[in-house]
Amino acid sequence: MIEYLLKYGDKLGTALIEHLVLVSITLVISLFMAALLTLLAMRSRLISKLLVYTFSVVYSVPSLALFAILIPVTGLGKVTAIVVLVLYNQYLLLRNFIAGLNDVDASIIESAMGMGMTDTQILLKIRIPLSKRAIFTGIHLAIVSTIGIATIAASINAGGLGSILFDGLRTMNVNKIVWGSILAAGLAVSANYLLGKIEKAL
């Protein structure tokens, strides 16, 4: 096993980097989209409910099925993977963002309004700082879930650690199976641990 690591270390490294790139791109797009949708959701309770409900339905679809649905549209590869991962993240991010922002004590919002703060000022100076923990919890969940689901994305040629695992399963190569699993699980577990630490410090 160590032999395999020494011999194919660069291959494992490439897969790990591919995985991290996939997760990073997904995260940037997810956050951008979730921020815009949250702004929209803050405008009305109806829009907010509708968005959370819609993405909860999307979230409930198994990832393999969602990949399959999108292949005719965006083809095999990274693009489809990113689209699916971004869609999944919207539920995790929106739910936490909206809940956090709306959870700020009503009397604090009322006094801010009464002082003549605009909606944007209330959002930036009051709501966001006071809900940073909920916002970070959403991001935390999204990162860990993306690392996990991105492994499955290898099944549609998106690369990453999943490709080592799938290769190993296909060729019954124990080394690949073990190293693929260790890296995929290790990445998710260590990310979860690190993010948990940060969350506590907030």
């Binding site: 919002i109 009464g114 003549g116 100076k125």
Partner: protein
């Protein structure tokens, strides 16, 4: 003749198209420099009446003028920055220091930092808190009474001509409340501002008010000086209110004897 600060003309408020008005065709003139207290039981429309002045509640009908100008014609943000607002729950920003809380509006109005800092010191002194002790503390480190002092300082920050106070001492213990009432009266005397304070406590209303508004079921039953209301209650409702307060006092006198 004194200036008119606030004028309500035939103002009503109906929530959610219900079949009764929370505020019912109110006409009211408040002169500059008065300390007006609005007294009534919960649900009588007193808070609604107050919140219509800074447009946290929009009237369903009628007009409200602030120094002769219809408040609907003013920019809502500018209107609110010109009116101090204090609420029972205080609503201090928990993630900001006391100094940052008080300087919120000065900062929004881009005051320079020296002027803002001097103002924070002055205001804390005015409300009886030592600036050096309290400036850098957070709201959670203060008692309820101290928090409301800060709430008052924050509302006074940019020197508004009108102060709206919605049961500011409602959640504060009796002894601290007495002190705060005294200080509020002396602040009012010193600043020559128009204060409007909502309360359900008849003693507070009559102690603080240069004029008292007595409200019931969305209407003003009497609006006069405390002395005149006691001497000449306008109707049975006001008379029974005063009688009930007298009975309470009687209880203490019997107890002492």
């Amino acid at each position: 003749m004194s200036n008119i600060a606030i004028q309500f003309s035939d103002v009503s408020k109906n929530y959610n198209d219900g079949d009764y008005n929370a505020v019912n065709h109110v006409n009211l003139t408040i002169e500059e420099g008065e300390f007006v207290t609005i007294l009534g039981s919960s649900g009588c429309g007193k808070t609604t009446l107050l919140k219509m002045i800074n447009r946290l509640v929009e009237p369903s009908g009628g007009t409200i003028e602030l120094y002769g100008e219809d408040i609907l014609d003013k920019d809502i943000v500018k209107l609110r920055r010109g009116i101090g607002y204090v609420i029972q729950q205080v609503g201090l920003f928990p993630h900001m220091t006391i100094a940052a809380n008080i300087s919120t509006v000065p900062k929004l109005m881009k005051w320079d930092s020296d002027k803002t800092e001097a103002r924070v010191n002055d205001l804390l002194t005015l409300v009886g808190l030592d600036p050096e002790v309290f400036k850098l503390r957070y709201p959670s480190e203060l008692s309820g009474g101290q928090q409301q002092r800060v709430g008052l300082a924050r509302a006074l920050a940019v020197d508004p001509k009108v102060m709206l106070l919605d049961e500011p001492f409602g959640a504060i213990d009796a002894i601290t409340r007495m002190n705060l009432q005294e200080e509020l009266m002396s602040i009012h005397k010193g600043l020559k501002k128009t204060f409007i304070l909502v309360t359900h406590d008849i003693n507070e209303a009559f102690k603080l008010g240069t004029k008292v508004i007595i409200m019931n079921e969305g209407s003003i039953r009497q609006y006069d000086t405390p002395m005149n209301i006691v001497k000449k209650p306008a109707d049975d409702f006001v008379a029974s209110l005063i009688a009930s307060s007298r009975n309470q006092k009687l209880f203490w006198e019997v107890d002492e004897a």
